[in-house]
Every structure is written in C-alpha cells, then in structure tokens.
C-alpha cells in the first residue's frame, strides 16, 4: 500500500482505498477462517482432534500431554513477554508452586484435586500480585534479575522444606479424580489438557483483541503514550503478570497429577528459561506462535535423544539458525510469507 500513498498521507486512489476498507470491515466467512482468530482456533481444534490418530503408544501420549501443558504456560507467558513487553525469568517458579500446592494439598491433607488446583491458582495469583508491584516498577535487565530471583527463591524453598515437599527427592501425587472417575493414562489426560489449552488460547485471543489487550500492546509500544491515553500502565503490567502466573500454576497442577510425581526441577531456573525460549522461538506476540514454540521445543529433545552427549549442542544450533533467519519467530515469519504468497497469487 505504501506506494499508493503520497508523502502527505493522502492517497492517489482515495476512492478505491475507501472501497476496500469498507469491504474489509464486513468479513466474509472465508476471511474469518483466514484470520488469526477464527482460522487459528479452527486449525488448533483440527490438530487436537486428528492428532490421537497418530499417537500409537503411552510414550506418544506422554509427549503430546507435555506439549499441551507447556503450551498453556507459554500462551500465558507470551501475554506478558510478547504482548506487554515485560520479561520474566521466574515463571517455572509459579509452575512449580502450582504443582506443589496440588501435590501437598492432595497427598498430605486429602483435599480433592479439583479443589487443590484453584487454591494453587489463587495462591499463586495473590503471590504474583504481591511480587509484581515492586518488581514491575523495574524494567529491562533489572526486571529479568528480579524475576529470576523470585524463581530461585521459590525453588530453594521447595527444595529445603523437605517435611512438606519431600525435598530434592520430590513427592508422589495422588491421581486426579473428575466426576468420580480417576483420571489415568494418556488418552484421558490428552483430552483434559487439550480442553484446558483451547480455553487458554481462547482467553488469550479474546484479551488481546480487546481494550485491555490494546492497552498492553500500547504500553509495550510507548509507555508514556499509553499513560497519557489514560492507561494505568503499572496496573496493567501487574494484571498481565498475575494472569500469566496463574496460567503457569494451573499447568503445574495438571502436570503434577499427570506425572503423579513432582520434583523441584519443575520450578528451577532452566525450566524458566525453557518457557521463555518457547515464547521467543514460536514468535513473540503470537498466541499460536506460543503453542508452536512449546510443541517444537518439547518435541525436539525427543528426536535428539539418540545423539546423547550432543543433544544440547544440536538443539542450540537449531535454535540459533531459526533465530538468525527468522528473528520474529516461527509463526509470525511463516504467516508473513503466506500472506505475501497469497497476495502474489491474487495479482
């Protein structure tokens, strides 16, 4: 469009532009399916429905469920990092807290798993809120350091309080019970995690395409401009931090019941880094990028397991290559390519 427009901002083809714009405000069903919202949700649903046809054994289901659990965390983290432009290197801490709250409350106190999960989510939400106000006043490297510290402290507490958490050895977690049936085995977990992921993606898409979402993206673009437009930027940063922490906690609770065992490794620093890497690789500020990032980085290590000692080196090389050639991440880059392709064929 750029060369149809004079420097003054007036179009040479003013009429034509208005016409296309009017057309585009009323979306056809085909356009709806091509949009990130409609098309993305439809594709994700399709993948989720079709995927079980290719899952042949417990191990396959195990990987698929782990992809889903990671994707829930990363969709939330992408709201914070990709959209609002704030970094967190401590989200595995919230994931671990969710996991351990479910573990401790169900194993030691006999609480129902479906009660322990929201308690964990609420507890993490309150904690994240308390942490967020002082921490989110910081920015850049300082915010990274502060969130890293938060994650480390959570991890240390989990490791130290062995009487409650089993310490570094971890602890067993009872099975989750839904409507009187115990959730057990890959297929059942697959549908539970898939439904939760769909919910997370739907909420994330809703939020981004709303006044709150525009405020978040706006404060990322220019904090001062957002402020003078009436956005209480601190409040919004806190809000999105809490939302992403709660989503991590929910995923943690599911993970604890799914693997029936938790260890402090769920809350450790490298796990936090992995989540951030998933956001960046999949594509910042792309909800489906978050899902793809989680899928790729959960799958790759499985394929690379045969390379034993070189696994991490190869993983690192693949990531470097992607980031050099697709600095915006997988999904935004591929989406841009597809759009360009579609435009070329349209001409």
């Amino acid at each position: 469009m750029a060369h149809n427009v004079r420097p003054s901002g007036y179009s040479k083809f003013a009429k034509k532009q208005t016409y296309t714009r009017r057309m585009s405000t009323r979306k056809s069903r085909a356009q709806m399916l091509l949009s990130e919202r409609g098309g993305g949700m439809a594709s994700l649903l399709l993948v989720i429905l079709v995927l079980p046809l290719f899952l042949a054994n417990d191990y396959h289901y195990d990987v698929a469920v782990n992809i889903g659990i990671n994707a829930i965390v990363v969709v939330g983290l992408n709201l914070l990092i990709g959209y609002a432009g704030q970094i967190s290197l401590g989200h595995a801490g919230f994931f671990g807290l969710g996991a351990y709250t479910s573990a401790v409350l169900t194993a030691h106190y006999g609480l129902h798993g479906l009660l322990a999960l929201p308690i964990g989510a609420l507890g993490v939400g309150v904690l994240a809120y308390a942490i967020a106000r002082p921490v989110l006043r910081l920015s850049g490297h300082y915010l990274a350091m502060a969130t890293l510290g938060v994650g480390l402290i959570i991890n240390i507490i989990i490791s130290r309080e062995a009487w409650l958490t089993g310490g570094p050895d971890g602890m067993y977690v009872p099975l989750l019970e839904v409507f009187g049936t115990e959730v057990y085995g890959g297929p059942m977990w697959y549908w539970i995690v898939a439904a939760t992921l769909l919910l997370a993606v739907w909420l994330s898409l809703n939020l981004i395409d709303s006044p709150v979402g525009r405020a978040l993206r706006g404060l990322h673009g220019s904090e001062v401009a957002a402020q003078v437009a009436g956005v209480d930027t601190t409040r919004y940063k806190v809000m999105v931090f809490v939302i992403s922490a709660v989503m991590a906690a929910v995923a943690g609770s599911l993970a604890a019941h799914f693997s029936e065992f938790v260890t402090p490794a769920k809350a450790d620093f490298s796990h936090s880094i992995l989540f951030v890497t998933m956001v960046v690789l999949g594509g910042m500020a792309s909800t489906f990028g978050a899902v793809v990032g989680a899928a790729v980085l959960t799958l790759l290590p499985q394929f690379l397991a045969d390379f034993a000692d070189y696994e991490h080196v190869i993983l690192g090389l693949i990531m470097m290559t992607v980031m050099i050639f697709m600095p915006k991440g997988l999904v935004p880059t591929l989406a841009a390519l597809a759009r360009r392709g579609a435009r070329r064929t349209a001409r």
Binding site: A2, A14, G218
Partner: protein, 265 residues
C-alpha cells in the same frame, strides 16, 4: 474561570532550572500558544502539566482542582490529552489500533468482560473503530486506517499523534510542535485541524515554531525564554512587545518561520 492555572512553577534537573517561577492562566475554549527558542522549556512544561515530570516548585490547577504530582493516566481521566514532539507511536500496532488506544477510557476495560469477549466489549470496539475511522479521515489519514504504524511516513505519524490524542475526547489538548518537519501544505492542513478542534470546544495549548501558524490561530501567546516568562498576550501584543522583538522575533510582521527560533529539537 480558568481551565488551567499554573502558579510559581519550577523544575530543576541537576543544576539546570528548566522552568522558573512561571505563572499563567489558560481560559477554556481558547487556543493558547507557547513559543520560545529551543531549550526554553516548552516540552518540559508540557511534561509537568501532563504529570510525566513532578515539578520541584509551584502548583497546577485544572478546573480549580490542584493536580500537581498526579500521574498521567489520572490526568487523562480528568480530560487532558497530548501529543509528543518526539513521536511516541506504538509501532507494532496498526494506525487505527493506535487511535483506539486513545479511546481507552471510553471503552469497557473490565478484565473479565475482555477475557470472555462479552458482547459489550465487541460492540464497544466496533463503535470505537467506526469513530476512530472518522477521526482519522478528519485529520487526513483515511488512506492509512489499517496500515502498520511502523511503516508510515513522518507526516502521517504526526497526524496519527493528533488523532490518538483527539480520540480521548479531551477538554484540554496539548500539542507539542504538531507541524514540525511538515511542508507548507501539510502545515496548512494541521492548522485547519487545530482550528476545527478548537471550534468544537476543546481548549488547545500549542507549542509551535511556525510563527505564521501561531500568529494566525492563537487567542493568547506565552513567550518562554530560559524557562521564564518573557511576555504574554494576544498575538498583536506579543508581536509589539519590545522584549520579544529584542530577544528573537525580529521581523515577525512579514513572518514565515523565524530563523533564530531554530530547528526542531
């Protein structure tokens, strides 16, 4: 009654007194221009009024309510809006999304409603979009509605700033050099936009170097020099003020952009 009252205002950055014992009043429904050479403290004054900087001395009243030290988003809620001399564009968003951020305070911002995409949210967004399209067309951005803000030319971004500020429907609008870097035709368009906005009842505070524009549309002019008030009054009074003439206006009678007032900072 005054809309904005500034009393004995001062701010210091380290040793630099960017604003010193400044008093002035802005009446509602007027175009009030602030002029002065680069570094006179005009942008700093805007930053204080809009709550971005806290002054080290003095008080500011909006509608007789003391607002000194209030934060920018609170002042936005009280009807203040502004543009930035050094563009503050949300570059990863589209042009209309930038303008819609400007409408923030008029929309349903309840978190739960937004998460669940309640009809009130989508309805509000649809109406907001329509309004913002009209607004963009009225400032000459009709061709840029869904353009990526990051890829728009400078002149269009200057207007985008104005559209975003107007979307808030402020009662006090502060424009920091809206015509800087624009050519004569573009400046004239901006000029028309400002007059149109002022006619609709919005009080406009304008910082501008283009003397023709300033003298043509202002009801009142405040001249700043080294953070102090050098003169104020109607355009004719300021033009005739010996201190102003002596300082830098020189031959304002036949106008144009006055050379000694320098370039964009």
């Amino acid at each position: 009654m005054s809309l904005l009252r500034v009393e004995n205002l001062g701010i210091q950055f380290g040793g630099v007194r960017a604003i010193q014992s400044l008093d002035f009043v802005i009446n509602p429904g007027t175009i009030h221009s602030i002029i002065g050479p680069n570094g006179a403290g005009k942008t700093t004054l805007f930053n204080i009024i809009t709550g971005i900087y806290a002054p080290t001395a003095g008080d500011i009243y909006l509608d007789n309510v003391p607002i000194t030290g209030r934060r920018p988003h609170e002042l936005a809620r009280m009807g203040m809006s502004r543009t930035f001399q050094n563009l503050q564009i949300m570059k990863t968003m589209t042009a209309i999304e930038n303008v819609m951020v400007g409408r923030h305070l008029h929309l349903n911002r309840n978190l739960l409603s937004c998460l669940l995409r309640l009809p009130s949210v989508t309805r509000g967004d649809r109406q907001a979009r329509k309004r913002c399209v009209e607004l963009m067309e009225s400032v000459g951005l009709g061709a840029y509605i869904d353009a990526e803000a990051g890829s728009m030319p400078y002149g269009a971004l200057k207007r985008l700033e104005i559209a975003r500020a107007l979307a808030a429907e402020p009662k006090l609008l502060l424009l920091d050099e809206p015509a800087a870097g624009l050519n004569a035709a573009e400046t004239k368009e901006i000029d028309e936009v400002i007059v149109k906005v002022a006619r609709s009842g919005v009080t406009v505070v304008l910082v501008e170097h283009d003397m023709k524009l300033v003298m043509g549309i202002s009801d009142h002019i405040l001249v700043l020099d080294y953070g102090r008030k050098l003169a104020e009054g109607t355009p004719d009074e300021v033009r005739a003020n010996p201190a102003v003439v002596a300082a830098y206006l020189g031959n304002v009678g036949n106008v144009g952009t006055v050379g000694t007032m320098g370039t964009v900072s």
